[in-house]
C-alpha cells in the first residue's frame, strides 16, 4: 500500500497537512522534521488539506505554523478532516 504522509509545520500544531489524498482508516505518517508518528484517518481527506492530530474542543484554537489559524466550530476528533465546515476564521470575521 502507498505510504500516506502528512507534514506538521511546528511542534505545537494540532493539525498536519496531508501530502497525498487520504482514505478512511489509512494510517497517516505525520512528519515533523526528522521525527514522525502515526494517526489513523477517520475519514477521507483531499491532498493539501488538514487532519486533526488530537481531539480539539469546541471553541479551541486551530494551530498551524505554531500560530492560530482559526477556531473550532464544534468538537473535532483526532484523525478527522479539518476545513471550513468545522473551523472559522477569527481575523476574517
Amino acid at each position: 500500500m502507498e505510504e500516506k504522509n502528512a507534514i506538521m509545520m511546528e511542534e505545537k500544531d494540532n493539525v498536519a497537512t496531508v501530502l497525498s489524498a487520504v482514505e478512511k482508516n489509512d494510517k497517516v505518517k505525520i512528519i515533523l522534521g526528522k521525527n514522525h508518528f502515526t494517526v489513523l484517518a477517520k475519514e477521507s481527506i483531499p491532498f493539501g488539506h488538514k487532519v486533526a492530530l488530537r481531539k480539539i474542543a469546541k471553541g479551541e484554537n486551530i494551530i498551524k505554523y505554531g500560530e492560530v489559524i482559526g477556531r473550532a466550530r464544534d468538537e473535532i476528533k483526532k484523525g478527522t478532516y479539518i476545513h471550513v465546515h468545522n473551523t472559522q476564521s477569527i481575523a476574517g470575521k
Partner: protein, 386 residues
Amino acid sequence: MKITGYMRSDGSVGVRNYIAILPSVGCANDFVLKLGNIYPNVKLLTHRQGCSQVGLDNDQTVRTLIGLGKNPNIAGVLVVGLGCETIKAEYIAKEISKTKKMVECLVLNNENGVASALSKGARLLNPMLQDASKMKRTTCDMEQLIIGVKCGLSDSTSGITSNPATGIVSDMVIESGGTVIFGETPEIIGVDHILAKRSANQDVVNKLHRLINDCKERVKASGGNIQEANVAPGNIAGGITTIEEKSIGAITKGGRKTLQDVLKYGEKPKGKGLFFMDSPGRTPEALTGLIAAGAQIIIFSTGGGSPGGSPISPVIKVTGNRNTAQRLKDIIDVDVSSIIMGKETLKEAGIKIFKKLCNVASGEVTKAEILGYGLISIWNISPLSG
C-alpha cells in the same frame, strides 16, 4: 559564506555587471528599444510611468527610477528623457551618480531628431560597455547582499514546502550578516499581529497597521472587497481554510527574524536584517520594487511555476510541486518536492536553496536569465493629472 561579486565604489556588491538604459518616462521607450537593437547586451529598463503623476505616486516613481539605477548589479546607466516630462532625466541621472558608478544622460528634445540621438546614445554607451568588461569578480561577504523574497502562482504545496523552505534561507542570509526584504501588503492582512510580535519597535508596528489600512481603503474606494478577494474559492478547494492560514503561509517565506523596519515601495533599507516593503502581489510590480530597493537577487517561491524574472537581478525559482518541477524545467531552478515525498526536511531544502543562492550570486545563471524573461513595471497608485 563567501561569494564572488563586483565591488562598487559606494561599497555595495553587484552579482551581475550590466550596462542599462533607463528612460525617465514611458514616452522614451521607443528610443530605448531602438538603441537596444544596436547594443543587444545592454539591459533595457522600459516602463510606462514618469509623467502626469501627482503627489505620492510621483514620489514613488522618482524613488523607484533612482533605485533601479543605483542597484549594484548595474555598472553603468544611460538615463534617457524626452525633455517635457515631469520626472526629468537629468535629476534621475544626478541622483544615481551619487553611487559614483558610470552615468550618462540624453534628452531627446535637445537632439536633432531620433537618428541623430541614436548616434549620440551609441557614443555614450560604447565606453561604458568597454569599461564594464574590464571589471572582475572578487571575494565578498554575504553582508553586502540584499535578497528579495516573493511568492507567486501559489498552490497547496507553497505554504508547506517552498515558502517555509525559502524562510529558512531568509534566516540564513540574515545570520550571515545580509538583508532580506519581503512584501505583498494584501497578503499580511490577518497576520499583522504576528508581524507585530516580531517587530523591532512600536514605530514599525504603527507603520504596518497604516499600510494595511491604506491597502483596505484603496480597495474599498475602487468598489472591491479585500476579505472576499483574499480567500478565493480556489484557495478553499486547495485546502486553505481561513485568511489567517493563507497569510501565515505567505509570510513564512520571510523567515522568523526581527522585523527591522517597514519600507516604502522601492525604498532602500537602512541597516541589515529583515524588512517589509509596501507592494502589490502582482509579480512585475513586486519584483521592480524589490530591485529598486537594492535587491541583487530574488528568491521566488512558486507552486504552479511562474516564469517571472527581471532584467537587473537574477530570480531563483523554487517549487515544492513535483509536477511543476518535472514539467517546467526551463522555469524552475530548485526542486524541493522531495519534502512532499517525506524524503527531505524543510531545513535540508533550505540549505539546498541557500547553496543555489551563493552560486547564483557568484555568477551561475538562473532559468529566467537564460530565457531573458521579465520586464520593469512600476507600481502606480493614483490617478493621472493629465
